[in-house]
Symmetry: C2
Subunit: 283 residues, 2 copies
């Protein structure tokens, strides 16, 4: 496994792989790798001849009061995990390599970013779009792998890639969960033992909403109400039933929807989502 | 020469050319081709094994009261000119092919777009950035050729490509002029015979500013004043001396600057620019 720190080396290595006839698979990460990331790597390796992982805690997607400074950066563990997983190339740049000067260029996806994470974290998706565009342009990947845990991010990236005719296939991958249902996330490491015990409540609430919908509940508000009962006493950022294409709230559930939630446990913010098949989709 | 109308065909043809070891040169145009465009094609052919020209009057870069509907579209002449010039592939999409739905994604370059064309034509550069990004992504060109006549556009595109790590070299090409100095432009066709006779006055004014600067004038305002005298009686949008990197106005000329102007003759808007070497650069 090779580790490179500059865009130029990344580009040259990926060009050489493509020139050698390899299909290039790309897994962008912020490091602190867990089994969810490694599932993306496995999927990439099963579909592509050559797999690149980027490890970069991207400052432009953090708000001024967010956890940029404290975000975990266990780079030695991460490199070992990539090596063990059979990654071919790791790109691990410094911020100054990715942003040698303040970028004048912004990439914005409207509509999809108005709610939920976009509303709670202003500027977050612009930061995601910028870094994903830069990485995809440098890697020239055939396929890029994103986890469904960040469902809104996945939708934003997919829309950006389609709108801009980027030559890459975005591959969504299922969320990996702990045995108790908690979605894997690098931020789970922040949880105190007590908060960690309570953390599965988010997935329980999402599952409650899904069950209501799949049992025939058509009014999203009533299904959400049942989910909020599960979250009673927790600090809820949002619990929404949204359209999988537009991420706009759904009032009457008539097909597949995404049930999305965000809660704060102690100082830690957790997000998760599940798909629920409502209306005629159930038949 | 092959002509394709869809992004899919464009992408496949360019991929095949690259896979065959060709260097792909790309000349994006809005058609109504003149000797300036053909100079871009000649440069592309001299540097690349395979040359693509796009002919697309991009609606997103026109303002609501601009000349989108009347912009000349002599496609038969354009295709003949491309064939004669040795172009390998022409991409000539319909607007619905480029924009199958209203794009949710925007690409914006800040700062560089604040003045001159950006101020006179709100949204113009966002439209340019969007279509250039889409075309570059679909073509996967090694080099893309832009004329210096649209100096601000060239600077905006170059900045976007750098900020987004796009894998393409932007090649600036000198402005081609009529014998009387008028910069070639598809919009020159709009000029009445009388306006056409007056049209070289823009280049004369720019040249006057350049001469003052290159004769040692350091105060941009005084050089511009001399240029405005040449334009006396004309409808001037702007006559500015700007920094070649930031396109911000220069007050004291101490190195190379760009002298940019825009005038309206009858209903036709003409832009042009020249580089002037001031200050220590003259030595």
């Amino acid at each position: 496994m090779r580790v490179v720190r500059t865009v130029q080396e990344l580009r040259a290595a990926c060009e050489a792989a493509r020139a050698g006839g390899q299909t290039v698979g790309f897994v962008p990460t912020m490091g602190a790798l867990h089994a969810g990331h490694l599932a993306l790597v496995d999927r990439a390796r099963s579909e592509c001849g050559w797999t690149v992982v980027s490890i970069f805690v991207n400052p432009t997607q953090f708000g001024p009061h967010e956890d940029l400074a404290s975000y975990p950066r266990p780079i030695e563990d991460d490199l070992r995990a990539c090596e063990d997983a059979g990654v071919d190339l790791v790109f691990h740049p410094d911020p100054a390599e990715m942003y040698p000067r303040p970028p004048a260029t912004s990439v914005h996806v409207s509509g999809l970013t108005d709610r939920m994470e976009g509303a709670v974290r202003p500027g977050h998706f612009d930061g995601v779009c910028l870094v994903v565009t830069k990485l995809l342009n440098a890697v020239g990947a055939c396929r890029a792998y994103f986890g469904r845990k960040d469902a809104q991010q996945l939708a934003v990236v997919a829309r950006m890639v389609a709108d801009l005719d980027m030559p890459v296939e975005i591959v969504p991958c299922e969320t990996v969960r702990e045995p108790d249902g908690l979605a894997l996330s690098s931020r789970n490491a922040y949880l105190s033992p007590e908060d960690r015990r309570r953390a599965p409540v988010l997935y329980e609430a999402l599952s409650e909403v899904r069950e209501r919908i799949e049992a025939g509940e058509r009014e999203a508000a009533r299904a959400i109400e049942a989910g909020l009962k599960v979250l009673h006493g927790e600090e809820v950022d949002y619990l929404d039933v949204v359209d999988p294409d537009t991420f706009e709230p759904v009032e009457l559930v008539e097909r597949a929807v995404v049930v999305c939630g965000a809660v704060r446990l102690g100082g830690t913010r957790l997000i998760d989502n599940v798909t629920a098949i409502g209306g005629k989709g159930r038949r």
